[in-house]
């Protein structure tokens, strides 16, 4: 018996030693990116998650794109464009000689196909959807082919965010020939014009893309990029430390410090157009009174939230418009942490220990660390006299409850948004007409006619300087009215091995890998 025991132990040892170690090495000139989840689809019109967008911008181009390091628009597949005086007609001159990865030609017909597929229910390939974000282009009335390299968009009203929406992944251009060939399975057989061409998708293992040598904007140096979904954050960190991936996005705040102190790794950070807030119910209950809403904003110690809970992966928010839109010249400062002032405001409002129901979610897109944040906010509010009861919901359930409006259910609810234009968030969440019964996201029923008017004006103006002033005004008024508890603007991060060069995060949250070397 003893002998048997020894033999088994020895065999196990042999098995371990016999295998060559250091299997976790990424191949040379191939960049392996650790993603937070498997993509849903590689059809840019069919997806909504930043996680998927990070892959897509490397496979496809749009007519326009965000200029490096900014949220400003520059030419991509369109060489230039003109906007009619009434702001309702956009004419794009297309780049010539560009082909899709499948060999078919990029031209005006292809552009028309892309938008008709998304927007027209009678289009023969509309059933390859659904296209959840197609409403980004709901202002588009018609797309007309003028000639092979000229295409015209007719809008039903002037719509300032149009170009920015075109630069967003929903505006990426797919190969009509590939859609025709693969139909509903196009999302698994993508074909675009981007710097990398799709090579392989192994379910829940990897998405691989190879260098497009014929890329119109210069071929990338990398031979290939591989996106690996690693859902569990701890495993993702372990893979980064074991050398199984070259880049990891969305590093949990708690691990950032140890990565920073590691000489073999580089931490990269970039503020983006993200805002984390708590919707306050302005229709009923204590928060119907502006003084009480302001009291809440004074009561919560946002500095502690961003520095301790989020470990410096966010900055304090001042209003609904994130500072990443740096062309909006706002001088509004965040509410300082001032519990005395909060108590004073509560006294002024004549309320004592107001009872608050606070909806908290367990996690969700852009929600950072919602449970801990919720608890910290609760503690700060209690400290000045609020009586806060937290109700926690799973993300999907949470969205259902919050999006139909807080009336009769709750006084405040956590929420976060990421956008590409300063119009989107206030337009969808702070307008009088954006109430839940009208199909909007104004779940706290905030209403200020002046804000409504400013937003309407800003979205139809095509003069950037004028828009900048209008949004600055919106920021100022909303800050004062305090329909939300303004909390944080996320600073996205990533960590790379020291060998990775030329890697940058973009304010758009997109991940361009064309100029990366390794």
């Amino acid at each position: 018996m003893k002998r048997l025991f020894h033999r088994a132990a020895f065999a196990a040892l042999l098995a371990l030693v016999g295998f060559s170690p250091a299997t976790a090495q990424t191949p040379p000139n191939v960049l392996v990116v650790g993603q937070i989840a498997e993509p849903k689809s590689l059809d840019p019109h069919a997806v909504t998650a930043t996680n998927d967008f990070r892959i897509l911008v490397n496979l496809y181009d749009g007519l326009v794109r965000y200029k490096d390091g900014t949220l400003e628009v520059e030419p991509a597949l369109a060489e230039n464009w003109t906007i009619s005086d009434d702001g309702k007609t956009y004419t794009f001159k297309l780049r010539q000689g560009v082909t899709f990865h499948d060999g078919s030609e990029f031209n005006a017909e292809a552009v028309k196909f892309n938008f008709d597929r998304m927007l027209k229910e009678d289009h023969p390939f509309h059933d390859t959807g659904p296209f959840p974000l197609s409403f980004n282009f709901s202002a588009v009335e018609a797309v007309n082919v003028i000639d092979d390299s000229t295409v015209e968009f007719k809008l039903n009203e002037p719509f300032a965010p149009f170009l920015s929406n075109l630069a967003y992944p929903t505006g990426l251009i797919v190969s009509p020939a590939a859609v025709e060939q693969h139909g509903k399975d196009f999302g698994r057989h993508p074909s675009g014009t981007g710097p990398f061409r799709f090579a392989e998708w192994k379910s829940n293992q990897l998405v691989a893309a190879e260098r497009n040598d014929a890329y119109w904007d210069g071929a990338p140096a990398l031979e290939a990029v591989v996106f690996r979904p690693i859902t569990d954050a701890n495993t993702r960190i372990a893979e980064m430390m074991a050398g199984g991936i070259d880049i990891m996005v969305e590093v949990p705040p708690d691990n950032l410090a140890s990565f920073r102190s590691d000489a073999n790794l580089n931490v990269v950070e970039q503020a983006g157009p993200h805002v984390w807030f708590a919707i306050l119910n302005t229709k009923e209950g204590p928060f119907a009174d502006k003084l009480v809403r302001q009291a809440a904003n004074f009561a919560v110690n946002k500095e502690t939230l961003v520095n301790d809970v989020l470990q410096g992966t966010a900055t304090v928010a001042a209003g609904p418009i994130p500072p990443a839109f740096n062309w909006v010249e706002s001088s509004v400062e965040p509410y300082p942490h001032d519990p005395e002032r909060a108590k004073q405001l509560l006294a002024e409002a004549g309320v004592e220990n107001p009872k608050i129901t606070f909806y908290v979610t367990e996690g969700g897109s852009g929600m950072l660390n919602p449970v801990t944040m919720g608890a910290a906010i609760q503690a700060d509010l209690q400290a000045v006299g609020f009586d806060v009861a937290i109700e926690t919901y799973e993300w999907n359930t949470f969205l259902g409850r919050v999006n139909e409006g807080l009336e009769g259910k709750a006084d405040m609810a956590e929420m976060a948004w990421m956008t590409n234009d300063p119009d989107t968030v206030p337009y969808l969440t702070l307008r009088t007409d954006a109430s839940p019964e009208n199909g909007g996201f104004n779940s706290g029923y905030y209403s200020n006619p002046e804000v409504d008017e400013l937003l309407a004006k800003a979205r139809t103006s095509t003069d950037q300087a004028e828009r900048a002033k209008l949004y600055a005004k919106v920021q100022e008024i909303v800050h004062e009215d305090a329909p939300w508890l303004f909390v944080a603007n996320w600073v996205q991060n990533a960590v790379t091995t020291a060998a990775v060069q030329g890697f940058k995060l973009q304010p758009s949250f997109l991940l361009h890998l064309k100029d990366v070397t390794k």
Partner: protein, 315 residues
Amino acid sequence: MPAYAAKRLLSVFPVLFGLSVIVFLVMSMIPGDPATAILGAYATPENVERINRDLGLDKPLVQQYVIWIGNVLQGDFGRSFALNRPVLDEVLERFQATLVLAGVSLVLCAVIGLLAGVVSAVRQFGWADKVITFVVLAGISMPSFWLGLILILLFAVKWRLLPASGMYAIYGGGDFKDLLLHLILPATTLAVVAAGVIARLTRAAMLEVLRQDFVRTARAKGLPERQVIYRHAFRAAVVSVIPVIGIQAGFVLGGAVYIETVFQWPGIGAMLVNAISTRDILLVQGGVLVVAASYVLFNLAADMLQTMLDPRIRS
């Protein structure tokens, strides 16, 4: 026996049918819906309605179910809402991965469990018994996802002996050795708890058998001790352990849900977790049916094996 097997096999179908009704009801009862999951923060009533129309979710529940079951009978399991891909493709691809992982860990836990059980029974109260009992207790009490992470930290991060996650190397892998390397950590993690249960039961069964008359007779005949234990005692004891191994198959399949997430194993457990959180009803249906069917089959196989080994049951 073939008749018995056929009867047991046929009984799988009502079980699966009942299960599909329950899954359908539960999935439609829990709050949230696929359209909200797809749209996320953009889930306005208008957008939700548009997506529901595109997905055919605007029809009454009973009609949805009838359409689904009708299609299933024709071999069409529908398309996943979230992945926009045929359910069957996804489920089969992912189930293969789970089968490899669960199969290997089942063999592993059976071998380790039986061996440890026999050793500790034969050396009752000896040092081997004490060590094994301690290890078994520790194995059963440890949360498997925690053990998985610890193994990753030691073998992948600290010593760099084994890959931390995944099923194959990104490049240049794909062969059997590559698979084996990737299997060691998850399969071990998954096997530990089940092995503990099997070890304890084997020990108890062996102790009981060793006290019986036929063992004494065998020893009295002068047979070598090893032959007494493995030829005679073990064969009698293993009969009562085999059904438990069958039940552990279910446990291993269930445990795969955590382990696959921790090790990013591309199996059906991780797929189901995702499908439930995105309310991907058809994918959940497909996944649950495959898992349930395989559980029933595992147990059937265990029963058959027991019948074969134990003449008393055969008659």
